[in-house]
Symmetry: D2
Subunit: 345 residues, 4 copies
């Protein structure tokens, strides 16, 4: 039995608890909070009533080190670094759902997150937790930097195509549309029902923090610096990201390779579904699941390629992927607790 | 030209500005704020860009007294009392969109709003601003207590029927469903998009503050103490209240009177539409408008009556009604600026 | 391995498939359709891609009789009767998710469903499939009449209280609010996105077909004819029913009995959660699950009781309950495949 | 008094009626229908109750010719051509809200709309009804081809920039997101509430009919063939289009020109609002209005330009623009009946 701690009690923590309910091999021993200490988990999340007998407590790293083998950190950026430092040094493996260990270059982190990274020496150890790309490294990792929701939706469709030289590495456009859970649980004007409902807007135009994370991973895949634009939008729905990605075929590549490279690369992957020709994903199809669906369009005349991906930002874009990483790290079947269809409609 | 001040900059203030844009006889001179002082109105409400050249300022009663004949108070309860005291004493007529002057009995106010009423002597002067019932008094009023949104939806269908002895005054049930703008503009967990979207819940079960307001007015109409239950619910939509009202026919009354009394009472009213037999209202039909639509169902066998009413909580339930009151108070045609169909669908 | 057929491919069929995916003891052998014959299930329901290798076919009862032990009928009313007749006579146990076997009195069925019942002699054999009330009979049943979604939400909170004489059997009001999946998958004006979104309305006022079904079961529980009113409303959300139920304490009963009777009756039930004092359900808490949550309010002064229940109309209100019945009928643990928390938020 | 006929009774017809209610200079004499003949307009559109005394009738061109000076055609493509032929020849000026007269090249029309154009000789006479570009021609036009909703959102931001040589004419990407009213009033699986709600998808990828319309107008503005990609998406909301447009600065142009050209071109336009630096539009800000809001982002380093536009697809994208055209055609102030702020929130 793997004993786990969850540090934080926002939406990604709630999704971890949903996905871990009833698991035989993993038990959540501890969940911590700043605002809800002393409350039962079913008081904070009544949908979990009957599944956990947990009381939220202030974060006590000593206790976690004594009783847990793994910790999920579901915290705002900046807060994970000192905790991971301490936990890892005591042998607790860490899966950080925040941004603190995703960027390899501390300077980029500091620019975009406007905070000094307290332990840049750990960045080299941290493994970017995208199983489809880094499965082997994740197996041994003591720190897994769980990817951002937008980056997961953009990197998975593009990485194999850049890596195999099918697409140009310049002029890529990623136009993403997200549900509101991505903005977190704290009430803010921008997540007020009446401000979001019955409308759509772009935000973070030109400077969203997930931009450099996407660029880093695409450049690693391409073996050269990738130039891209990323524009996120807020859609009136709870869950889901749809990314519409525009790229150009590289001279010499054939259009048919776009589909064939993706189908080959993801053929054996349990959680990536390359949709048939002419079918494009709907975020509802992956609602609450760990799937990433990808539709492919190529224009014969112009050489333009459109990739459209859909995932659930809290599941494959956060907590589901974190559990996929846990399964890998602890030698469990990778799909354990994650392979089920979504609630539809 | 009537010069008006709006004290407060929440959603009801925004709806006042929407409805007053382009009016010839009324000019908004001043709008005040606590959080947005110094900002242009189009920065706070970009949809108003091009309609007002107003900058939000801290509330300065002296300035309002010098330049305005009327003030709309769109504030949380408790804050209006001292302002109204001062404004009225200087001849500025006040339309209070909050709860401070609605309840005739200061003790009831203090029980439900958990605050001492600072000027109970003014309660006798304040006129409950439901034009269809109190038009004549509103004409002369120096203080108009603009009704709550739920009360407007419940009182208008019931008052004529209670007044004419068609319905029993006991055992009335008012089951109301509201959009989220009713909860105000400040971000709160209960108005977070993800907590509201794709679900419905009841709240304030048994003790919502609009209960005594409804009871007061129904009892006045019936000429006897009315016993009723009021249960509000939160629906994932921005605007609209639907109230489903259950009552019983009084012995001796005929079922046909339910419809005939309502049709007669409201026949000449511009903003109350009694729907044809078998038609029940949809809140979309009154979206953004000053209408109240009412559907009527009577059960021959059991003597049970169901009245279903729909209004826009921000318009007929707040700001539209406030402007209807303004029109009456200043001798303007009552429908001026308010008689237009809703945006549909 | 229990082999099952699903007759029909609407939303309740889709939810059966969701819930049966990955089950060890049950295998869906056949799914039938009128509109989608020849298509793969993943073409009709792409969210099921990877879970089933089924092609929709026209209904062939002969084939079902040869290969299946149980059939789920997910059809419009009237269509199930002849199929159930034939299947049952060949030993295939039937779980009918439609209305054809719910009403014990064929005359009531014929009045409300405006069709002649082709096999009224079967009505006595059919067991009303509410496990919490009829578990023992379900175990042996050859025909299970799976309850309607609204009735499930109304009967479960009320039945034990009527049965134990805590509540008056007269003057009960059930004000229900439902998501749009309850209207089925076929496109209709009333389920067009733009007609439903951002609004709420009542429908079937005074004559909805679920009224007599509720009355039948409440009367059986009370041991006397129950008089009640049922008003359904359409809410802009996919899934969920919230029923707000108003009743009166019977003379001699104590208010505390309301809660104690419910807690005792449902204490050992896995899928009914009686919420703590002061907590009222949100349909989101049961989204996609087989739970029914109930909140209780009693008014000391007036003896008025408010019960508020929430369920997912497609799951506990249809397909989840059908599988709960299947589990009971075939001697499997009743919670198998059904005990998981909802997707939240 | 200008007498108008509306041919068709879908959503754009409803928005025409909303906007023309209470107009002094224009009177809707006739509204025609195929499905709702004989019904009062308030039976089909209850929100219009009290504003019109119109009964829907079958289309009778003879009657229209006798009594009307102008006809709005709000029909599926293909149906307008013969009607416009006949009406125009009798001196009735026509504003076609459909697609039949938008494309100058009948061959392109026939390819994308899969129907033969019955009167290609009229295409040269028809004026593309975008007032900001073609105001002078509209004034005299006997046939106005009212632009598509997506094209309006894409052409207005781009045309001045292409015309003045600020942007490259190649590699433009238009990623558009629309509400569901754009799909029309007829119930279809793709506009079923449950299929749209709580999700987002792309559609018409690579071959949407509005693509060639956009290309035609952009090419006319640029004076050269513009190469672009247009991808529409369906968003769970009733009204609104947000178009995120990606283009590149032309060598020699300065980034500051992007904003300055737009501000100059649209400075005196009543319905186009160029938003301040750093502000990007929300479709809610133009809800129910005739405004087009545009936000501008330029990337110093890369020369990449992002334009984001928002409009209400039924108003500036259809019926509002049609009335703007009517005002121009008949010498009325262009803003008459159209200059009001949106309903917010």
């Amino acid at each position: 039995m793997i004993k786990a701690a969850i540090i934080g009690d926002g939406y990604t923590a709630a999704d971890l608890l949903r996905l871990l309910a009833g698991r035989d091999e993993v038990k959540v021993e501890i969940i911590t909070s700043t605002e809800n200490t002393g409350r039962k988990i079913s008081q904070v999340y009544p949908h979990l009533d009957g599944f956990y007998d947990l009381t939220l407590a202030a974060t006590d790293l000593h206790q976690i080190k004594q009783s847990c083998q793994v910790a999920f950190l579901a915290l705002p950026h900046g807060l994970s670094v000192p905790m991971v430092q301490e936990l890892v040094s005591s042998g607790v493996r860490c899966i950080d759902l925040g941004a603190d260990f995703r960027l390899k270059d501390a300077a980029v982190y500091e620019k975009y997150y406007e905070t000094v990274h307290a332990a840049p020496y750990l960045l080299a150890d941290a493994v970017y937790g995208l199983p489809e790309l880094y499965r082997d490294k994740i197996r041994q990792a003591s720190i897994v930097a769980n990817p951002g929701c937008y980056p997961t939706s953009a990197i998975l469709p593009l990485a194999p195509l850049l890596n195999s030289g099918v697409l140009e590495s310049q002029g890529i456009i990623i136009d993403s549309k997200s549900g509101v859970t991505g903005a977190g649980k704290s009430p803010k004007p921008s997540s007020h029902f009446c401000e979001v409902n019955e409308g759509i807007k772009a935000y973070g135009v030109g400077d969203h923090r997930h931009g450099p994370e996407i660029a880093q991973e695409l450049s690693l895949a391409a073996g050269t610096k990738v130039e891209m634009i990323f524009t996120p939008h807020l859609v009136p729905m709870n869950r889901g990201i749809l990314s519409t990605i525009y790229a150009r075929l590289r001279p010499g590549a054939r259009l048919s390779q776009v589909r064939s490279v993706l189908e080959e690369f993801y053929g054996a992957e349990p959680f990536v579904r390359i949709l048939p020709e002419g079918v494009f994903p709907h975020t509802k199809w992956v609602y609450g699941t760990n799937f990433l669906d990808v539709g492919v369009h190529v224009n014969e005349a112009s050489g333009q390629v459109i990739l459209i991906s859909a995932l659930d930002n809290l599941t494959k874009g956060a907590s589901g992927q974190a559990i996929q990483n846990l399964n890998i790290m602890f030698g469990l079947p990778e799909t354990r607790g994650l392979f089920f269809p979504g609630v539809h409609p």
